[in-house]
């Protein structure tokens, strides 16, 4: 223990050891973001291979067996190893700063969680190195396909273990974020002074802490079943247990970015977040409802009570509507400053709307019978998870990048990245609604030469490569901006409202020399208003 530590102010540790073992929440958050992006690139390569295969009818690039591995691992990597942990990583980095804490609660636990996440991912991907290849029973390990007689490969076993380890890690660092937000706030930050993003992280982490352990248990059960040939749970019970995790995780991959976009809108519209109290109540109601809708994934099994799950699933439109109303209200009378972050936020708002509305379709049991297992489902969840969450993520990336690194990303390349993604994303996924209506089923390596299908699939493949081009532009932006390294001040966008903008960019090891007084959920706004002689709202 250093003397500076005892004084409460510490210099950051450096070197390779710090890269591996720093307990600083900012370092843990940065490493989690980096690792998640690496997994994202791996999942993206798998997507491009799949789309290339589907560009024409027939098998040209990969075999059916490899295709099955690719779609199973693409879904697994994107959900278990990218979108879920990267949303939580933003919380690990930002929540202690936003609530005025010096450190995250349980820093060692958070560090351990990071390494379990990394190791779980590596275990999962190591399936590709085995003789029979990686897992091929879809990202949900659908039972009975995931039982040993149907998918006997070692890669499938590695998938089961990898999912369990990575999910355990995510549960641990989510618990650290939750305890930080509830127990480590600066003394004058009451519950209704917690910033919007931190509230969305509270809701996210509540879902993680109560839903993710069920998946860990389910994977242990599946592994025992596969190893010893016993049946602990029938396929319907497996589906209940899996989707008890599997639906909340959709919102775990959504809420952090709603909060991020809310912060972006408030800053770039130069006004306080609109409808704060309604937003807080709605996000908790949203999280509660999302824990009770899992059965809508099982409508076609005929083994769940359709009416209850249709009711709770449809009720989701109420809190979602409030959140949309608040986000639009924040922009409505604002003085808009255009930026790449704001553009990605708007992309999130509009594209997630399509994902949300099509979610209402599949929440209706009768329509779900028609849509089930078709490309409509693929289009729907990519509109929520890519058009929504990934765009929200990049709104957060462009917004908080100067805070995290101390230098800005290039605006011009940022906007090019945005437009390439808007075009590429919609060209790839919008036609899938038509393919689905026309009867094309998902998870197939080949399709019959049905009139129009080949052309539409070719167009979608071109769209996928435009998305990849957009990602290349982002990486180029990263490289060029790091060379230029245009230094960012503490309040990088000259309008920050929450406490992280009161700290240096990047923040010191101890986060704050002095935590500013907190009189609302936008304490820096209050300080500026007070300095200008205006009465606080």
């Amino acid at each position: 223990m250093s003397a500076t530590a005892a004084a409460g102010v510490r210099a950051p540790a450096g070197g390779l050891l710090a890269l591996l073992a720093s307990t600083d929440h900012k370092s843990v958050g940065r490493r989690l973001i980096g690792v998640s992006v690496a997994f994202f690139l791996a999942g993206g390569v798998m997507a491009l291979l799949m789309r290339t295969e589907l560009a024409q009818p027939g098998l040209q690039v990969v075999s059916t067996d490899v295709y099955n591995q690719l779609f199973s691992m693409h879904g697994s990597v994107m959900i278990y190893l990218f979108m879920t942990p990267i949303g939580l990583a933003l919380g690990v980095y930002l929540v202690p700063l936003q609530v005025g804490a010096r450190e995250i609660a349980g820093p060692r636990w958070a560090l351990g969680g990071l390494w379990l996440d990394v190791m779980g991912g590596l275990i999962m991907l190591s399936g590709f190195l085995t003789v029979d290849g990686a897992a091929s029973a879809t990202w949900i390990g659908v039972d009975p396909l995931s039982r040993a007689p149907n998918t006997p490969s070692m890669g499938m076993d590695m998938w089961v273990l990898g999912v369990a380890v990575a999910t355990l890690g995510q549960t641990i660092f989510a618990a650290c974020v939750l305890v930080t937000a509830l127990r480590r706030r600066t003394p004058d930050m009451t519950l209704l002074r917690i910033p919007v993003f931190a509230w969305t992280m509270i809701a996210t982490c509540l879902m993680v802490v109560f839903a993710f352990p069920v998946l860990v248990g389910t994977m242990v059960m599946l592994w025992i079943e596969r190893q010893f040939g016993v049946q602990i749970a029938d396929p319907v019970t497996y589906q209940h247990l899996f989707w008890f995790y599997g639906h909340p995780v959709v919102y775990v991959m959504f809420f952090p970015f709603v909060g991020a976009v809310g912060e972006v809108f408030a800053n770039f519209a130069a006004r306080r977040f609109f409808g704060y109290r309604f937003f807080v109540v709605s996000i908790l109601a949203f999280a509660g409802l999302s824990m009770t809708v899992w059965g809508h994934h099982m409508f076609t099994s005929g083994q769940v009570e359709d009416k209850y799950f249709a009711l709770t699933s449809t009720m989701l439109v109420l809190p979602a509507g409030i959140e949309y109303f608040d986000l639009i209200g924040t922009l409505w009378t604002g003085r808009i400053r255009w930026s790449a972050a704001l553009l990605f936020g708007l992309g999130f708002l509009l594209q997630f709307l399509i994902g949300g509305v099509t979610g209402i379709w599949v929440a209706a049991p009768t329509i779900d019978q028609h849509d089930n297992n078709s490309y409509i489902v693929v289009a729907h969840f990519h509109y929520t998870l890519f058009g929504g969450s990934a765009f929200g993520l990049f709104a957060a990336v462009y917004y908080w990048w100067p805070k995290i690194t101390g230098w800005y990303l290039g605006e011009r390349l940022g906007r090019l990245h945005f437009w390439l993604w808007v075009i590429g994303f919609n060209v790839t996924f919008l036609p899938m609604f038509w393919l689905g209506f026309d009867g094309m089923t998902r998870r197939i390596a080949d399709y019959p030469p049905h009139p129009g299908w080949a052309t539409v699939n070719l167009v979608e493949t071109v769209g996928a490569f435009v998305i990849a081009l957009g990602m290349a532009v982002f990486l180029l932006n990263l490289a060029l901006s790091s060379l230029r390294a245009r230094a960012a001040p503490a309040d990088a966008w000259a309008g920050g409202q929450t406490l992280e903008w009161a700290s240096d960019s990047p923040p010191p090891r101890h986060n704050f020399d002095v935590v500013p007084p907190v009189r609302s959920y936008a304490p820096l706004w209050d300080l500026r208003a007070a300095a200008q002689g205006a009465a606080p709202e």
């Binding site: 223990m1 530590a5 005892a6 004084a7 409460g8 510490r10 950051p12 540790a13 050891l17 710090a18 073992a21 720093s22 307990t23 804490a101 010096r102 450190e103 609660a105 820093p107 060692r108 560090l111 351990g112 990071l114 390494w115 379990l116 190791m119 779980g120 275990i123 070692m154 273990l161 369990a164 380890v165 890690g169 305890v179 509830l182 127990r183 480590r184 600066t186 003394p187 519950l191 509270i202 109560f210 592994w223 319907v236 209940h240 247990l241 908790l284 109601a285 509660g288 409802l289 824990m291 009770t292 059965g295 083994q303 769940v304 009570e305 209850y308 009711l311 709770t312 090891r509 704050f512």
Partner: protein, 126 residues
């Protein structure tokens, strides 16, 4: 902040989940839905209660942090546990290596925690 207010988000959320579980009963659902719905609500309420009771954990911004900047032992323990789990598939040799690494990590953690306790005592008595 009072303990009651501290536990409010978790407790209110648990009460909402309980209400949803009760609504489910109207529809006479299958047993899994009932068990999962009520199990969730009860576990959230119990967690809310424990947040209510817990006294430790709240710290002011100026409080001293005793956690070391680097915790190699944590990384060693996490990697060891992961290797042991992977060994369940790869073979007992990896289980043995993983458990050995994990034990070394836990030993390091015990050492770190003792050092922390000593430092805390030293600062308090100064």
């Amino acid at each position: 902040m009072s303990a009651l207010r501290r536990s409010l988000p978790v407790a209110a959320w648990g009460a909402f989940l309980l209400a949803l579980a009760v609504v489910a009963l109207i529809f006479r659902p299958d047993s899994q839905t009932v068990v999962l719905g009520f199990g969730l609500a009860v576990s959230v309420i119990v967690a809310g209660g424990s947040v209510l009771r817990a006294r430790r954990g709240r710290r002011a911004a100026g409080d001293v942090e005793y956690t070391p900047d680097l915790s190699v032992a944590t990384v060693v323990a996490a990697v060891g546990v992961s290797l042991a789990i992977a060994g369940a598939e790869a073979g007992t040799w990896l289980v043995a290596i993983g458990l050995g690494v994990a034990v070394a990590g836990v030993g390091g953690l015990v050492r770190e925690l003792r050092a922390e306790r000593r430092e805390r005592t030293r600062v308090r008595t100064r």
